[in-house]
């Protein structure tokens, strides 16, 4: 019969968590609330990293500000916790400064689609070689649950106490219409599919956007009387519909309505750097000198 190793309670020696090599275990436990989904999104990212073909030394994580923005502090990679909304331009600088890096932006909906919305559309338009994991919990959770650009209509937040009347963004559609080459959406319950998607996105060149629907227990679920994060996970279980290749125009999320998940876009298009180098080579010929990084 197997014995469970209950570490800390009984003085049994156990190996460290298998994801410990990509996590800063000295900073765990993290700041996220009980039944928050951000930690689950992070395990999916860590799982994906085990499978990608890129050396971990070359993978960087950039976050903005907010609950999800704290992810940068928990991954044992070169990780940067930048300013609110500016994770994408920061990552753009990091990537262009050293093109051999693979830069993953992990941040929240408020950070990426709210204050950083302009950077999102332009990074997608340029097809900057970045992976964006946008953890959408429908509110500004870190500051106490204000209405976000993603709050579903009628949902209650701290700044819409009678219900939200502003139309939210359909993030996969926004990213796809601006030119993202890989667009997917999963919930925190779809851990394996999410990890697979993250792996695909990291292995792909170009601007990849994955929306991760995450339960927020303390703010979103509590204010809307939806129970806790587990109840939201159960809700995803019952209401998420996997529809690969769905028309991104039909991906709006209504309040406690069905959530269409899946991989919606997976196309090829030259990245910003590909275009820059190819065009200059064509026009300048021999005179063109490609920038290869700081040691160049």
């Amino acid at each position: 019969m197997s014995e469970t190793q209950v570490i800390g309670k009984t003085p049994q020696k156990a190996e460290e968590h298998p994801m410990a090599k990509i996590l800063r275990m000295d900073r765990i436990p993290h700041i996220w609330c009980s039944t928050c989904g951000i930690g689950t999104a992070l395990t999916s990212f860590a799982t994906a990293l085990e499978k990608v073909n890129i050396p971990l030394d070359h993978i960087c994580v950039v976050s903005g500000i907010g609950c999800s923005g704290r992810i940068a502090g928990y991954v044992k990679l070169d990780s940067f916790h930048s300013t609110h909304g500016r994770a994408l331009p920061f990552a753009t600088g990091l990537k262009l400064g050293n093109p051999k890096l693979k830069v993953v932006v992990i941040s929240g909906d408020g950070d990426i689609a709210g204050i950083g919305g302009n950077h999102l559309i332009h990074s997608a338009r340029r097809n900057m070689d970045l992976v964006v994991l946008c953890i959408n919990n429908f509110v500004y959770a870190m500051t106490g649950g204000q209405t976000a650009a993603t709050t579903p209509l009628t949902a209650i937040t701290s700044t819409s106490p009678y219900g939200n009347y502003e139309r939210p963004f359909n993030l996969p559609h926004l990213a796809a219409s601006c030119g993202a080459v890989y667009v997917a959406r999963w919930t925190c319950l779809h851990v394996r599919r999410l990890a697979k998607s993250i792996e695909e996105a990291i292995n792909k060149k170009g601007f990849s956007f994955i929306e991760i629907i995450a339960p927020c227990s303390t703010i979103y679920a509590r204010r809307n009387r939806l129970g806790d994060g587990l109840d939201l996970m159960k809700f995803y279980h019952d209401n998420a519909i996997i529809k690969h290749g769905a028309d991104t125009r039909e991906l709006d999320i209504g309040y406690q309505d069905k959530i269409i998940v899946g991989k919606f876009v997976d196309i090829e298009r030259p990245t910003f750097l590909d275009s820059l180098n190819a065009w200059n080579k064509k026009v300048l010929g021999e005179k063109f000198r490609e920038y290869g990084g700081p040691n160049d």
């Binding site: 030394d57 070169d78 940067f80 500016r86 920061f90 302009n118």
Partner: protein, 385 residues
């Protein structure tokens, strides 16, 4: 470390101040520029876009100045020598990530070709009214270094100097040009590469296990690494300890912010730079910087012809401020005359540094054009009366 000959356009050129800044940046080894078009600074990036493809470097036109400055901080951490260029309204937008650069101690250069303000103000005409904003513009306590050129030749030289200072002290460093200097075309001598001394980045020699990203050296500046080298650092805009990890308490805040401020304040004797002329027996000193220091020349000559002993103190490095020297001089002279294209910014620092030992006269100008030298002359006359 010497400049790389492939980047240096050695020779005598007829350049405007903005283009001279570009050549200075290239000579300094700049290989990343993120910017957003804004008059009167755009010529700087225009020249970079022309030059980069043949020498190796990345220019990206970002969606706004918030993004430009964020990209510069990101590029600095990837090991690039990064720069951005802007003017008034864009400078205001950059403040958020200038604070980030100060907090992350990212070496980078920002060129501000100043124009008249506030708001959109005078896009095509000069001003010097961002001199306090450059020092205090982002929230919280931090220090920066700012230089002020008064000719295209100095635009070239000071941009190199700015890169060197930013590398040495790991601090955002500013070239506070203005529309007049930026659009003024003069002879610029670019020396051979082996005569251009560059400050190397302070890369650590420690192993990943020993390295702490914010552990200061003797001069309070920590050693740096670049992303991708396997150090697996965490860098945050939050208050952090030597490891770079966020720590939310007053002790860590005190240690970190004190060091961010002290690394410039305690090294200020090494950073401060100014030009002095006839200050030995002066009764009045004309203290100026940037284009105002050139406009003042006829006024000084006129006053000297009349026998007034006018000394000159021109600030090359405006921030940190040469408070010690000004106090020394204040004890010997009657007054300082400070012409600047604003309604009183650097003059406040002169008053503070003089500690009441000398009178301080401001010759204000709202911007849009340079001072009439006659106004400066009148102020000198007033000061010695």
């Amino acid at each position: 470390m010497k400049a790389n000959p492939k980047n240096v356009l050695t020779g005598a050129h007829y350049l405007d101040g903005d283009h001279a800044c570009s050549e200075g940046a290239l000579a300094a080894g700049c290989n990343f520029v993120a910017g957003y078009p804004i008059t009167p600074s755009t010529e700087v990036v225009e020249r970079m876009t022309e030059r980069f493809p043949t020498i190796g470097g990345i220019f990206i036109q970002m969606e706004d100045e918030l993004a430009s400055m964020a990209a510069v901080v990101g590029a600095a951490w990837s090991g690039a020598k990064a720069m951005t260029v802007t003017s008034g309204p864009g400078f205001s937008l950059m403040m958020e990530n200038i604070g980030l650069a100060a907090m992350m101690e990212a070496p980078c250069v920002i060129i501000n070709v100043q124009r008249g303000g506030p708001s959109t103000g005078l896009p095509t005409l000069p001003g010097q009214a961002d001199m306090m904003q450059v020092r205090w513009g982002s929230h919280g306590d931090y220090e920066i270094i700012a230089l002020s050129p008064n000719s295209p030749q100095e635009c070239f030289e000071f941009t190199i100097k700015a890169f060197n200072l930013s590398e040495k002290y790991r601090v955002p460093t500013f070239v506070m040009s203005d529309e007049c200097v930026g659009h003024m075309t003069e002879k610029v001598i670019i020396p051979p590469a082996d005569q251009i001394e560059l400050e190397p980045r302070r890369y650590t020699t420690l192993s990943p296990a020993e390295y702490l990203p914010f552990k200061p050296e003797k001069d309070l500046v920590p050693q740096i690494i670049k992303a991708g080298d396997g150090y697996k650092i965490h860098i945050t805009g939050l208050t952090h300890d030597e490891k770079g990890y966020p720590v939310m308490n007053w002790q860590t805040q005190e240690k970190l912010v004190r060091r961010l401020v002290d690394k410039i304040r305690l090294n200020q004797d090494k950073i401060v730079e100014f030009e002095e002329e006839n200050t030995g027996d002066a009764e009045v000193i004309l203290l100026s910087y940037g284009i105002s220091s050139r406009v003042a020349i006829p006024a000084i000559q006129k006053a000297r012809k009349e026998g007034i002993k006018v000394g000159v103190l021109r600030l090359i490095v405006v921030w940190p401020f040469p408070e010690k020297r000004i106090y020394q001089l204040a004890k010997k002279i009657k007054a300082f005359v400070v012409p600047e294209m604003n309604y009183g910014q650097i003059v406040l620092e002169v008053e503070r540094s003089a500690k009441g030992q000398a009178e301080v006269y401001l010759v204000p100008h709202g911007g849009g054009w340079v001072h009439d030298p006659e106004d400066i002359y009148k102020a000198i006359k007033e000061a010695v009366r």
